[in-house]
Amino acid sequence: MNEQELLSLADDELIIGWRDSEWTGIAPMLEEDVAFSSIAQNEIGHARALYELLTDDPDALAFDRKPEEYRHSALVELRLTDWAHTIARRWLYEVADEIRISALKAELPLAAKIDREEAYHRLHAEMWHERLKETSQFRAAVEELWPYALGVLPSAQRRTLAARVGLDDEQPPAPRLLDSPEFAELHEEMTMVRRSAPAGAQW
């Protein structure tokens, strides 16, 4: 895996972590407040460990770039405000993430460590998938997010993803939302503390 691919993976983990954390305090049930907070914490921890492979200053890499310099996929930057879409994204993301993390294990010991934690994210996503898969809202959400999910993986791995989720990979992946304010707003929020204490905050 080259540095650009590693950066994409790290950025995906950082941004999905931020998006998942948006449910803290407002999820439809208390258990999911706790689950989404924990998952977000894990994902951001994975991002940090991955950034550390690229730099000695992971905070700078995570928070000092301009919005257009991030390399995450369109799927993770979407601001989703309903539960069916949120679960559809978690499920699609975890299936895609397992494919690339598994492929990385042989060359990157950190990938194997990340995978141990992701196993619980997959259990969580599968549990919700089982519960919602027959509902029209969830099916519509999966269909809508599917072109975005294809963008998580390089073209060589998309067929595996399509086979796992039972959809087709004939369509092109959805592009990043570079003209939309969605990521700019998230970027503004997630870099706020860093900008307020450029020398580094001590807690």
Partner: protein, 155 residues
């Protein structure tokens, strides 16, 4: 000059920041201690990557080495060498006595999926939430003694 045994003994006194009934040695996160003159090189393997206690653990290790009069060099090793199987037998018993169901060995967990209540020992328990107060814990409920309890996840 400080010895490796003295460093290990001092590390046994450092409580886990979030579950202080166990020490960092009980938790199995110290992979090696290597003393060269007045330098102590420590390999530290984090538990969960998103655990906010990691920095605190690293700082405790460094402070403890300095108290022994040596210069610490704590290397964080993010490979796959830590799993919950590294928690010592003593550590598991301390967890159980404090009401945390210790993680089952990986092989047992994968084959049996049995979770035992730390209070009454019943295996008639159900999952309430895969996630809990920290990333390393799930919440289960014991149908035997009607107590919710925290289950340390097997990873």
């Amino acid at each position: 000059m400080v010895t490796a045994d003295a460093v290990w003994a001092a590390f046994e006194q450092i409580p886990d920041p979030e579950i202080p009934v166990v020490s960092l040695v009980d938790l199995g996160v110290i992979r090696s201690v290597d003393v060269r003159d007045d330098h102590v090189h420590v390999e530290f393997t984090p538990t969960f990557l998103g655990c906010p206690a990691l920095e605190a653990m690293k700082r405790s290790l460094e402070a403890t080495v300095r108290e022994l009069g040596a210069e610490p060099d704590v290397e964080v090793v993010n490979d796959d060498s830590w799993s919950t199987d590294r928690i010592t037998a003593a550590g598991r018993e301390k967890l159980r006595a404090a009401g945390f169901a210790p993680p089952a060995p990986r092989l047992v967990q994968l084959q049996s999926q049995v979770h035992r209540c730390p209070y009454c020992g019943s295996t008639d328990t159900t999952l309430e939430n895969l996630f809990g107060p920290t990333p390393c814990r799930s919440i289960r409920y014991c149908n035997g003694c009607r107590q919710p309890f925290e289950q340390f996840k097997t990873i």
